[in-house]
Amino acid sequence: MNSQLPNSFRSGPDDRGHFGIFGGRFVAETLMPLILDLEQAYADAKADPAFQREMNGYLKDYVGRPSPLYYAERLTQHLGGAKIYFKREELNHTGSHKVNNVLGQIMVARRMGKKRIIAETGAGQHGVATATLCARFGLECIVFMGAVDVERQQPNVIRMEMLGATVVPVQVGARTLKDAMNEAMRDWVTNVADTFYCIGTVAGPHPYPMMVRDFQSIIGVETKAQMQEVEGRLPDSLVACIGGGSNAMGLFHPFLDDPSVEIFGVEAAGHGLTQLHAASIAGGRAGVLHGNRTYLLMDRDGQIEEGHSISAGLDYPGIGPEHAWLHEMKRVQYLSATDDEALEAFKLLSKLEGIIPALEPAHAIAKVMELAPARPADHLMVVNLSGRGDKDIPQVAEILRKGKG
């Protein structure tokens, strides 16, 4: 139909880390040799059956995979349209999908002989997963977290500290995820010899977007098999929230070459797309930050703007480069949900299904509430329930209390 379309949506990136014009390796020279080493180490690991075997063992017995594919019967009845399934990533050890990626990276770090692990975190889920695996493998762990996020995600800060990690509150900029990533990169440049930077999403310089995607793709691979087992066919649509885009990419990637599957990513629209938000596809354009070219929120002069979202995990002014490409190729549709819509979804899901979701996947649920009723009963829709809401309970309780008072 369209001669511009690639033969496959799954063949990227090229050997320079590009997805179309996106991606790349925009880093300081100090980091370049290490990034090339990492690329090699990851390629070696990927080709090593022993690495895969060891990882599969931990995924099963430590993380608790496979995560269930659950038919959300009451939500389906309530919305009166598509048949809705949840991919239950919130049941993983540590409470989100983040652990899939961290396990993989920590095992690569071990192969590279690195003893000091750094990470950035927004909601704290990536930080918790990193702290957990560092505890498990006896590695030093330092987590950079914006001071605002330290406040609003207290339960996760406490968890990280209990796990033996050092949490560094970042006091610059808007003191959220972007600033945490800047500080992590500054630490990395300084301690490059012994430090492994465990990036929490499908962003950063090549090979990170590819490597994190590969580790997260188990979500989609399992979903495909599980759906085949219960329904005997492919799902008709997939929905996932997008911060940097790792839980979404993990679910989407194995389905990209199945044209019958509609795919929806949900960005955070904050107060609304004409106000403060964190929807970089809806409100941004191509630029270069944190090692890659991708869609970013910025002003006319190329200065990066702060994201805003009720959800600390979506509060990032960029998105992984492969998503930017999938958007331009029109393979994935990027929607957005506001803070208020996410809160409504958070409340609805808690009451209807007895599952308190994290505020991040509550954004995905918010769009399911629009997409599902417009589709027939035999339409199979899978939502990535990327994390559980324990970490958000104090914050949401406070918002609801203020709303009433």
Binding site: E29, L296, R300
Partner: protein
């Protein structure tokens, strides 16, 4: 192509001394004061002037230069205004090389081709772009060379002999050796380590090798100048500037002289170096 940078290093070689390379942020603390400062630099003893292009997310910079960038952005500095400032400087100084230093995104958004035309016209001689390693040469390095601008590359302690040729391949003007692994304004390297590193780079290139990061005093500048073609001083100047501001971060009558005085002292250090070696 010969740029003002090439000409300046030839002249310094004839004089038998190293260059003092100064770094300050464009528009810090405001555009007018910033122009006054850079205008005062050559007479104070700066041989090459680096001007920072402020960016919201300076991933390789420490607190001092981060804060300078925030002051500059608050004062309304844009890449256009930075180029205007260079043009204004050039009206009164036809020979002192100007190097713009910063991050790629503002240039990418300006538009690479237009930026190169405007920068050349304003009188810019070279570019140092922290987040463009050789792997991304097609973005800006090659077009800049074609436009007659030097693209000055950073070499670091992690740039080993295997990698140096790739780093040097499209470098011109000079090589900027970052003497530590780290961000600006942090630790300083031992002078003996720097000497060895410069010697290593010189085995691969005939280009001048300047050294920066962690040089704060005239003595340190002199030590570096013994080994290298130039000493780059940034955070110390930015700190001196900041110390001269009032409580609201605005320029005072002392601001220009605070920077110029430190530059003069650093220049003495650099100029003393070769005599010490002779």
């Amino acid at each position: 192509m010969t740029t003002r940078i090439d000409t300046r290093f030839k002249a310094l070689e004839a004089e038998g001394r190293a260059a003092l390379v100064t770094f300050l942020m464009a528009g810090d603390p405001d555009l007018k004061t910033s122009l006054d400062i850079i205008t005062a630099l050559p007479a104070a003893g700066a041989d090459i002037i680096e001007i920072g292009m402020p960016f919201t997310d300076p991933m390789a910079d420490g607190p001092a230069i981060q804060a300078a960038g925030i002051r500059a952005l608050k004062a309304g500095t844009t890449l256009h205004k930075t180029l205007d400032m260079v043009a204004a400087f050039r009206n009164g100084d036809a020979t002192t090389p100007i190097v713009l230093m910063g991050y790629y995104n503002p240039i990418f958004i300006y538009g690479v081709d237009q930026f190169l035309i405007d920068a050349k016209q304003a009188g810019v001689d070279g570019l140092i772009i922290v987040d463009l390693p050789p792997e991304e040469d097609s973005e800006l390095c090659i077009p800049a060379m074609r436009a007659g601008l030097n693209f000055i590359r950073l070499a670091t302690p992690t740039t080993d002999d295997k990698r140096l040729p790739a780093v040097l391949a499209n470098t011109s003007g000079f090589v900027y050796y970052v003497s530590i692994t780290g961000i600006t304004g942090s630790a300083s390297a031992k002078s003996s380590d720097v000497g060895a590193a410069v010697a290593r780079i010189r085995r691969h290139t005939k280009l001048p090798v300047c050294v920066g990061f962690g040089i704060r005093t005239p003595e340190a500048a002199r030590d570096i100048a013994r080994h290298a073609s130039g000493a780059v001083v940034g955070s110390a100047l930015v700190d001196a500037l900041k110390a001269s501001l009032d409580a609201d971060g605005r320029a005072t009558p002392k601001t220009v002289s605070a920077v110029a005085d430190l530059v003069a002292a650093l220049a003495q250090g650099v100029r003393g170096a070769k005599q010490a070696a002779e």
